[in-house]
Every structure is written in structure tokens, then in C-alpha cells.
């Protein structure tokens, strides 16, 4: 093989660059913060199952929005038959009091910036 030394050095350099994130966090002990949303202490049960809320809360909120604003319907019947007032501020945020402790945790981690907060506020009135 010609230029073995150069090729091997180049390959090694590329390998180091590709694995840099691992070396960096191993060396500094700093990694991207784990997204651990703080669940409300007062309630054990959300509107729907945990899995459904994880997968589809955005669809649920879109359906709630359209029903409330456009159809003047305000009651949601969950899969287990419980009735809820459809309201981000007055139902969701009643338990998830602080947006920063719940919503933002995953949204920030995922690089999501939903426009809910352009207008809606959490219970503490935090912008």
C-alpha cells in the first residue's frame, strides 16, 4: 500500500473527530442534560394513558383547540370515560403548573418550539 502512514493518520484523525462527542463528554463529565419532566405530585392520572400522551398530546391539543374555538364544544370524554373541560390553561396547566418544569423539558431537548406559548400562559403567569 502506498502512503500507508498518511492514510492511517488520516483515518485515525477522522475516527477521533467522529467519536469526539463521546470523548468530550467522557473527559468533561458534561453531556446534554437528560430530559426529565417533573410530573405533578397531586395527580397520578393524566387525561389519557401515559403512552398516548407521550405520542399524541399535540394531536389531542389540536382537536381540543378546534372543538373549543370553532365548534363551541368544551367537554372531552377520555377513553376511560372521564369528562374533562378542554382547556390548555385551565385543565392541563392546573396540574402541570409550571411549563418550565414539564413542557419545556422535552421540547427544549428535542429542539421543538411550539407556538402555544406565544399566547397561552402557565398558571403562574410565566411568559
Amino acid at each position: 500500500m502506498y502512503d500507508t502512514g498518511k492514510i492511517m493518520t488520516g483515518l485515525a484523525a477522522v475516527l477521533v473527530m467522529l467519536t469526539l462527542p463521546f470523548w468530550y463528554s467522557a473527559a468533561t463529565g458534561k453531556a446534554v442534560e437528560k430530559h426529565d419532566p417533573v410530573l405533578p405530585k397531586t395527580e397520578k392520572k393524566c387525561v389519557e394513558s401515559r403512552q398516548y400522551m407521550r405520542d399524541s398530546h399535540m394531536d389531542l391539543l389540536n382537536r381540543w383547540r378546534d372543538a373549543v374555538v370553532r365548534e363551541d364544544r368544551h367537554t372531552y370524554v377520555s377513553q376511560d370515560g372521564t369528562r374533562y373541560e378542554m382547556s390548555l390553561t385551565n385543565t392541563c396547566m392546573k396540574c402541570h403548573v409550571e411549563r418550565a418544569q414539564f413542557c419545556d423539558k422535552c421540547h427544549t431537548y428535542m429542539g421543538e418550539s411550539p407556538f402555544c406559548w406565544d399566547c397561552h400562559l402557565d398558571r403562574k403567569g410565566v411568559l
Binding site: 374555538v69 367537554t75 402557565d122 398558571r123
Partner: protein
């Protein structure tokens, strides 16, 4: 035996496929929006407001209804008239009732300010021109806004002959000086807003904030809210007590704010 093995494999295959599909479908279906009416909600065939101008004008500097509305709905206080946001406000008589103003009008009246708000027209031009259906007329006559769908084109502002609509040229939140009410959303830069006849209060069985506070401060009957289609309603009763006019009736918008003069 071949036949039955084939049938068994078919059934087993379908069962596995079904089980595999059922779980993700169950995950995404969720519950249902109930068609039931909200208990205690105020309902009407056609909402309307009657303003008794004779009583209202006696309290020249009264701002009770304006403050109540603007605080309840997080309406920002912006001094610059080009950027200001208003849901309910006072307008000089000659601008409110252009057709009724003339050079020989009582000087006192000409200089006074009349209470104005969205007329919730029966034939609303704002609704006709909105390209996204962000504003529409509900079955009970309320001309409603969907801030989620507003693209800020301001056609509705051009369409409304009463100036009832305001555009957010900037983030309104820094201008909400009375303390933001978290129960009601603010608006964002780039959307149009206006009076909604307090749909959020009607839901709880309450009259609009302006009407409620006005009747406390200025006495009952100064502002009356009710169903204009119901012959026994307060608004119909009030309209029988005197001569009433509406703003710019010649335009054919059929405004539903009536002024007893």
C-alpha cells in the same frame, strides 16, 4: 390435513397482524369530544347589546366597562394611536353617528363620546374578506376570532366600517400593565383581535364583563345584553323604552349594538 393447516396458518396470521395493528391504533385514537352542551352556558338565537346612551353620557369620564374588559382579556395599553389595541372604547359622537351629526347639533352632544365596540354584525364584512376563516359568525350571531388561524393580512380591518378591529404590530405582553391574567391567553405579534362578546364568560353563565360592571357602576339598564330573537328578553324590553339607532345602518351590515338616544 393440508386444508386445515392452511386454514390454521391463515387464522394465526390474521390474529398476529390484528394484534400488531391494534396496539398502535389504540395509542393514537384517544377519547372523544362530547357533543353535550356545557351545563349553565348562556345560549341565544341572536345575541345583542342595547346601550342606553342617555344614561351612559351622564358619566362622561366613566371607564368602568373599558377597564373591566381590557383587564379580563389581557388587552395591552399602547399609547401610540397607530398601534393601540381596543376591544371597547369611547368615540366622539360625530364619528360614531356620522349620519346623525350636523352643524346645528347640540354642542354638548357633539363633543361627547359614545361607547363603541364590535357590532357583531348579522352581515359582517370582516368575515366575508377573511381568507383563512380565522373570523366567522357563530350560530348565536357572535363574530368570533380564531387567533390560531389568523395570518395577519388585515383585510378584516379594512373591511370593518366601525374600526372595531386592532392589529398587533408588536408583542403586546410588555404593554399589559395591569398584570397578566393567566386564565385568558394574550395575543401575539401579527394577529388581529377584537371583542368576542365574552364567549368565555357566557360559557360560565355570566353576561359580558362590560355589561356586568356597567350595571353595577352606572345602574341597571345602562347596558343590556340578551337574545334579540326572544320577545321576552331584556334587550327587546329595553328597545321598547325609547328610540334606538345603530351605527352606519345604510351599509347593510346589520349591526347588533343598539343605542337608545
Amino acid at each position: 390435513m393440508d386444508g386445515s393447516r392452511r386454514a390454521f396458518l391463515k387464522t394465526a396470521g390474521c390474529a398476529i397482524l390484528g394484534a400488531g395493528l391494534a396496539a398502535p391504533i389504540a395509542r393514537t385514537v384517544g377519547g372523544a369530544v362530547s357533543a353535550d352542551a356545557t351545563p349553565g352556558e348562556l345560549k341565544a338565537g341572536r345575541w345583542a347589546i342595547v346601550v342606553d346612551v342617555r344614561k351612559c353620557l351622564q358619566r362622561e369620564n366613566c371607564r368602568a366597562c373599558i377597564d373591566a374588559c381590557h383587564v379580563a382579556h389581557n388587552v395591552p395599553l399602547i399609547k401610540n394611536p397607530a398601534h393601540e389595541i381596543k376591544w371597547i372604547w369611547k368615540e366622539p359622537f360625530k364619528d360614531t353617528f356620522e349620519a346623525e351629526a350636523h352643524p346645528h347639533l347640540d354642542k354638548g352632544l357633539a363633543g361627547q363620546h359614545v361607547l363603541v365596540l364590535c357590532n357583531h354584525c348579522d352581515n359582517p364584512p370582516c368575515v366575508r374578506v377573511c381568507p383563512t376563516k380565522a373570523t366567522w359568525k357563530r350560530a348565536d350571531g357572535i363574530v368570533m376570532m380564531d387567533q390560531h388561524r389568523c395570518i395577519g393580512c388585515r383585510y378584516c380591518i379594512a373591511g370593518c366600517p366601525y374600526g372595531s378591529r386592532s392589529f398587533n404590530w408588536q408583542d403586546p405582553r410588555p404593554f399589559i400593565t395591569t398584570g397578566i391574567k393567566p386564565e385568558y391567553p394574550t395575543r401575539m405579534k401579527g394577529v388581529v383581535e377584537k371583542c368576542t362578546f365574552c364567549t368565555e364568560r357566557l360559557l360560565k353563565g355570566l353576561a359580558p364583563a362590560c355589561v356586568e360592571v356597567c350595571n353595577k357602576v352606572a345602574g341597571p339598564g345602562t347596558m343590556t345584553f340578551g337574545d334579540i330573537r326572544d320577545p321576552g328578553s331584556d334587550v327587546v324590553r329595553m328597545l321598547k323604552t325609547g328610540f334606538s339607532i345603530r351605527r352606519k345602518p345604510g351599509l347593510g351590515t346589520e349591526p347588533q349594538i343598539f343605542y337608545l338616544v
